[in-house]
Amino acid sequence: MKIIGTSVPRKEAPNKVTGRARYANDINVPGTFHAVMVPARQAHAQIIAIDTDEAKKVPGVKAVITGKDLSVLSGDVMEDRPPLARDKVRYWGEPIALVVARDEAAARRAAGLVQARYQPLPVINSIQDALDKKAALVHQQNGSYTVATPPVYPKKHSNIADEANVTKGDMDKAWKDSDVKVKVHVSLPQIDHAAMEPRIAKAEILADGRVLIHASTQAPFEVQKLLAKYFKLNPGQISVTAPLVGGAFGGKAGVQLEILAYVASKAVGGQMVKIVNTREDDLATSPLGMGFEADIALGASQDGRIKAAEMRFFMDIGAYADSAPRIARAIAAQCTGPYAVPNVHTDVYCVYTNHTYTTAWRGFGHMPMTFAVERAMDELAEALKMDPLDLRELNAIRPHDVTPTKARLTRSNLGDLPKALTHMRQLIGWNGGRVEALGPGRVRVQGVAAFWKTSSSPPNAVSGALITMNSDGSVNLSIGAVEFGPGTKTTAAQILAEQLRIPLDRVFIHEDVNTQVDPEHWKTVASLSTYMVGRAVLDAAKDLMTQMLMVAASVLKCSPDDLDYGDEKIYVRDDPSIYLDFKDLALGYKYQEGDSIGGQLMGRGKFMIRHLNLLDQQTGHGRPGPAWTVGVQAVEVEYDQNTHQYRILKAATVIDAGKVLNPAIASGQVMGGMNMGLGVASREGIFYDSDGRLLNNQLRLYKLMRMGEQPKQYLVEFIETPQVDSAFGARPIGEHAVLAIGAALANALSRAANVSLNMLPITPEAIWRARRAR
């Protein structure tokens, strides 16, 4: 059987090219009520009063709910966020009321009639504002919120929601040993996930007390747990369904609309209520990706070996903590980038501001962190007069090194960065970083940057798989991971088909997830699904085959050891003419006389992350993930020195995939990731005005790359160093192609424009300003 390693199409592909793929907003029950959020039109203000009288008069309006009606505080790490603003608003766009009506038009009309009176407060509009000693506090209560998932270390009477630190080695000595020192300050705006499907949730409370949620979510089991906790329900009462999701990128891992949908349904006697973000809501009201500033200092000996890394990272997490403390620890744990650095001191701060709150964004903090580190690496190469790729090769982290948090590295849990760097030389045709003149004012230049990432998942993350059989011997696979594009379901089916030695079309997998039916899967995040689901599927396949062989052994009057299988048959190894078909065993074996044995066969599989721990508060030491994926990215750019416009000619990635399970899907993931990372680097960014109003809450103003703006050529190469505890050796690769490509672009353009470009996005104006400021 050759299913692993082949480019099979996505299971649901035919549905996606015929309009038959159904997303949450495509499945509607007639009579569904609509809920619409009323967004705050202040960034930081005390709420004096919210007048809902006019809104309630609109025909069809059934309820108008405000923060006063809710006592819940939500947050998966720290419970600091009221689902509807209470007492004060902390960002422009924060929902202050929820209108529930018979139809969407009435709800929207009524939402426009809700009037709020505010007492404005000073707006914390940047990290600098927030850290000022006299700064207004975004949260007076900071430090006294309930901690749902330790660790988190908020600083009372400040805007610091959390701090994570890592120390390793002896910094004083390291600086003394350093011949060359560089310092870099980087600054990145908040960004949006901009999944093409806006977020949506539906809720219904049945007469028997069951709560049915349908949502566009990466975390249906988290929705179930949090709703149970916030509203004092039994988890079993709550059934969460996640159909196909139209893009996620981390933005659908949080829980927001689901809470409001439940509250809205409760307000109308448990009727089905739908809440769908407009694109404006999706950009300004639902969480973004964090903004970021960093100060990086690197020290190296004259031969280029890095001795010291001292770093401070500041995350503009916006108004609420959400998953920021987890992201802070992920940044801390991987803070050096994929380099062996003996002496490290790193502080990461989660900073509250009056910006839209933030959550995971593809790469979980590693993209901005990598940008900072990789800009510093290029500055170091320049100071050392070294080829930037040589510098990275010299310092590349290797098996037997330890990470900044002192996790031990092996060939299996790390992969082979030096090999990836070598391959990149060939792939992009590396020219040493020279600026090549093409004509008057026009130059061509390459840039390179490397990345690593691990999962930073909780130490008790679980996954599972269930297999049932059909009467013809085909199998049904049930997993708890959501499908939002990367082919998670298809990969799981491939693994099962390979294990059972049956064609892929004999494995059936439903595209939705239902928490009541499917085995728990932590969250479909962190690129971990292939690893976690894969192991669970292997376990389930083994369980199923053990049972099938047992029954077959009885029927064939031999030991299970005498049997082998293939072609949907179980046969005696030394005489394959003695066999049973899978279909004869699937639902129990029936002897010719009529009596039967075995019953229906079901495979159960489970997996739990092992050997991880929470990072120590003082030193940061600990193991943040099961394995690291490493790789290197490069771009080739043509740049006009007069207009500062540029064109990306090539974008290249070499990534250690461990084992490529589906080459076409894997390439697509990597190419799409590069495109997204380059979009972020070249044009994306949330704009706030001086009053903290979010200015670009539409896709005509929040710019995404479009057709024709992508690089002329994408180059993708996989190397395969197996991760031995993963199914077929595969490593996580889903997020990674966004991580370093923006840094590679900045490195290339910094050399082309002869100015340090340490901010994003790099627009022609940004280059022009940087050159003028020099």
Partner: protein, 279 residues
């Protein structure tokens, strides 16, 4: 989806449309004349505008004219921007209009809608602003009136109850002219302009430039045209002086700062002058 209910009317004649408007007003309704709908529908969805009846003009033959009429080149207000490109009767208009929005949306935006937009750019007006003779035909209670398009940006150009039927330029003037039209954006091909510059060069060598995106309205400036036409100076010098003598300050917004707009406008003008004078 509109958050409020409306009535929809599609009259077949100018007279019907005008009478309908008056009747609806007398009925205390708020009618709007409707072209492609792209702007009204997006603004209405956000409740930035309210109306309770739309009068769709696209079925009126006069708003769909597209061709020569005597000395004039006529363009109906109801033509889609893609119609302009497909017919390509006036390449300068094609060049400017073909950079508005994206291709699919250009199949929905009408010429009249762009010319009278509340969004400040209105790039389709630039070619007309560059002509000596460019007129709008406006349907009024007193019949069709012709008005100089130079007054397009004045508030009273179209009064309530009136609608734009078509615009026209003198064929000889429009087609006997060398031109360039260039839209400069922050970074993206599909975006609002930092500045769109349309420049003509006449047989006598004089240059005229029209700008969109620089300010909250499109404009031409005789002072700027005078500077640009001074062939005694280098293109770069003229571009510098033109930017220094613009009649209004450049905008500062999320597409770009004022100074950057000046920088881009300057090099764009210089490039265009060089190209036109090399031809």
């Amino acid at each position: 989806m509109l958050p409020f209910g409306i009535e929809y009317y599609r009259p077949d004649t100018i007279d019907e449309a005008l009478k309908l408007y008056r009747r609806l007003r007398e009925n205390h309704q708020e009618p709007v004349f409707y072209g492609g709908g792209t702007e009204l529908l997006t603004r209405a969805r956000l409740q930035n505008v309210h109306f309770d009846a739309v009068i769709d003009l696209k079925n009126i033959p006069e708003v769909r004219v597209h061709g020569r009429s005597g000395d004039w080149l006529e363009f109906g207000a109801g033509l889609r921007l893609t119609d302009l490109a497909d017919g390509n009767l006036w390449p300068l208009l094609t060049a400017t209009a073909d950079r508005i929005a994206d291709h699919t949306t250009r199949g929905q935006i009408t010429l009249g809608g762009n010319l009278l937009s509340t969004i400040p750019y209105r790039e389709a007006s630039l070619p007309f602003l560059l002509m000596d003779e460019a007129e709008a035909l406006v349907a009024t209670e007193d019949g069709i009136e012709s008005r100089p398009l130079a007054n397009l940006v004045s508030d009273s150009f179209i009064k309530p109850g009136e609608f734009l039927v078509s615009v026209r330029v003198k064929g000889d003037e429009a087609k006997g002219i060398a031109y360039r039209s260039r839209k400069m954006t922050r970074q993206d091909w599909i975006d609002y302009p930092l500045v769109t510059v349309a420049v003509t060069r006449r047989a006598d060598g004089s240059l005229r430039a029209a700008f969109s995106g620089w300010a909250g309205f499109p404009f031409v400036s005789s002072a700027v045209n005078h500077i640009l036409s001074d062939t005694g100076k280098s293109a770069r010098r003229r571009a510098q002086e033109a930017v220094a003598h613009m009649p209004v300050k450049a905008l500062e917004d999320l597409h770009g700062t004022r100074e950057y707009r000046e920088f881009v406008t300057e090099y764009t003008l210089a490039q265009i002058i060089d190209e036109l004078e090399d031809d």
